[in-house]
Subunit: 157 residues, 2 copies
DNA sequence: GAAAACGATTCATGCTCTGAATGATTCTCA
DNA sequence: TGAGAATCATTCAGAGCATGAATCGTTTTC
């Protein structure tokens, strides 16, 4: 039976054998699951809100919205909406930069840090469920490769 | 300096340390890159079109649109639009099931197979570029883990 | 043979995101 | 110094993708 599926012609390249395909489908699935979890918190949070808080926590306080937009890879106008919502939750503070009053400096508040911590905890819970049964060595290698790729692509984190 | 970042309180759980976060961001990045490539083909193809062709190729001809919708995890009405477009390209054939004339049986044409092959080739090219420099052993392990997860989640492929 | 169930299709709508236009502030440099 | 270019945040209209309800034809059930 070996080779039977090739009877009709040359071996067709299999898309499902690519990392591109697997990363895309698995990534979308995981993101959907995560979206549902943070939505259940009831604060109207979407992954991009968490992303914004994450870069805010990572790159220290006092980033302009322009910086954030670049860091997140989104349009500046979207950062406005994200920041509006987070500000409404008290998770983020907006202050005009005294040195350049065009800029809005965003800072994560203590409440924001607490909220981000909850979102991070949800991520860890989800990891446990999704990767249940995957050997620790495999998990670590997966994480190492993904982190390396993220760094190469200039992704946040 | 060790532990300095914890000065202000308990060690905050780090979202960027989760597979959830990494799979989400890296997956979205890779999907964007792939979307741009297949778009450059000029056939108006989006990842879901390729997904539809992929399950059609994998699960043999003669699937109803209802089946496909379940397999892809999308609403049946979306399959209509996807199939419309692919039919317009000559990549897919629509035939009423003689045994149940409510059903539309979708079949990948030879042209469809050729188109899918091109899309798969693009995926492999992208793999080469994105994973350039990643050791073969790591690539294989990455793929194995992702394939296992995809199977567990019931994803196509 | 009537009613319920099922499949495909259309359509209106929601959601996310973008890019252009606007207003305020700062920078450039003649 | 002062006029025009550049920069930042914001608003707003609109594109694009996906969904769910309504509809029509077909089949199943009893």
């Amino acid at each position: 039976m070996i080779g039977m599926k090739d009877v009709k012609g040359a071996d067709s390249p299999d898309l499902t054998a690519t990392a591109t395909f697997r990363l895309g489908t698995v990534g979308a699935y995981v993101t959907d699951a995560y979206t549902a979890r943070i939505d259940a918190l009831g604060f109207g949070l979407r992954p991009k809100h968490v992303g914004l808080m994450t870069v805010l926590a990572a790159e220290g306080p006092g980033r302009s919205q322009q910086d954030l937009a670049r860091g997140l890879g989104v349009a500046p106008s979207l950062v406005v909406a994200l920041a509006d919502h987070l500000e409404g939750l008290g998770a983020v503070r907006r202050e005009r930069d005294p040195a350049d009053r065009r800029r809005q400096l965003l800072t994560l508040t203590d409440e924001g840090r607490a909220l981000l911590a909850r979102c991070a905890a949800i991520g860890h819970e989800l990891d446990e469920e999704l990767l249940d049964g995957v050997p620790r060595a495999d998990r670590e290698r997966l994480h190492a490769v993904l982190a390396a790729l993220a760094g190469r692509f200039g992704l946040p984190g």
